[in-house]
């Protein structure tokens, strides 16, 4: 069984006066994902189409685009989700476009690094916050974080659309996670202060789009609101000299 699709794909190359859309008609297996359809366009119709992809199973986050206005990882988005067979594919919003569906994510990764989030955990703690003893023969625990750093939350965020200086949902969620990881009080306070300020958690206008769009259920909006609560508690404690 195959499915006929009409793909309208955003096109923009450096030096173009303005972006435009190209329309392609492709035939893909019924069980194909949107990334498969994009690859057919590249392989059969237009080798100049630029798009980013790697793992094909939602681990790398590199293929994130907008499909019919919603942010998606096309590698895990079935074409059968679009009953009428018409797909408009655009690059993520709120990033500079490099070429076609490829955006410049360098600023995003700089913020993720600043957040202090490690992709793998280097220590495991129990619920009471005490370090868990390593099992015999193990030198450390490695546990992957949920966030795949796809940038989808940045694209979905309405605040990000208005301000390039906003720290952004992913990095703020990273700060929240980094604070959970450490039991070192000065580190906890330093991370909290990193999330503070007009371009930090207070800049968020609670549209909840980041959490709605996140393909990995990281729930950045909840992390941002929790950081706000922690900041309020921290300020009250400082006020009373604690």
């Amino acid at each position: 069984m195959t499915r006929e699709l009409t793909l309208e794909i955003f096109r923009y190359k450096a030096g173009d006066a303005a972006p435009h859309f190209d329309t392609f008609r492709v035939s893909v297996p019924e069980t194909a994902n949107v990334l498969d359809a994009i690859e057919v366009v590249w392989a059969v119709h237009d080798r100049t189409l630029t798009f980013r992809h790697a793992c094909h199973h939602a681990s790398c986050g590199s293929c994130a685009v907008r499909v019919n206005r919603r942010e998606k990882l096309p590698c895990i988005t079935p074409v059968s989700d679009y009953a009428n067979g018409r797909l408009t594919i655009e690059p993520l919003r709120n990033f500079p476009v490099v070429s076609d569906l490829v955006v410049d994510v360098s600023g995003f990764f700089q913020r993720m690094t600043a957040s202090g989030l490690v992709i793998t955990r280097t220590a495991e703690t129990s619920l009471d916050g005490k370090p868990v003893k390593l099992a015999e023969g193990m030198s450390r625990y490695n546990r992957f974080e949920d966030c795949v750093e796809c940038g989808i939350c940045i694209s979905a965020c309405p605040t990000m659309a208005a301000s390039d200086r906003f720290f952004g949902p992913a990095a703020l969620a990273g700060i929240f996670r980094a604070r959970q990881e450490t039991s070192n009080r000065p580190d906890k306070v330093r991370l909290l202060e990193l999330a503070d300020g007009e371009h930090g958690v207070w800049r968020c206008h609670t549209g909840w789009e980041c959490s709605d769009a996140c393909p990995q259920a990281v729930n950045p909006a909840e992390a941002i609101m929790s950081l706000r609560r922690d900041l309020i508690v921290h300020r009250f404690k400082k006020l009373f000299g604690k």
């Binding site: 919603r70 500079p96 476009v97 659309a161 208005a162 609670t206 549209g207 709605d212 609101m225």
Partner: protein, 129 residues
Amino acid sequence: MPPHPLSRIRRAAQWGDVRSRGLGMIAYTLNRVTGLGLVVYLYLHLIVLSLLAGGPSSWDAFVQIARSPAFLVLDVILIAGWLIHGLNGLRVTLTGFGIGLRSQKVMFVVLMAVAVVALAAMAVMVFSA
């Protein structure tokens, strides 16, 4: 840094675009639209109050207009703005303190239902006064 093909104004306009977005984005946009409306109303209100400086005749003339059905519809729209902005603002405040994070969508639906009921009751009062 590569250029961004969208102008800054078109990017900023995205905050008003609710197409294909979730309930949180609808709440976000509603709060901005009603907020801007209430700011405009505040200035209109001050202009209307300045009529008092013109004496009883200018004020009485305005009151005649204010009692017309068309003006009463504007009153109902104003009350709708107050209710939506105030009740949704309550939700934003609670979630901002880390309260009700998991139930923010339910909270929005319930508060907007309260707004609709209250608006209907107040609309009856406005037109029957």
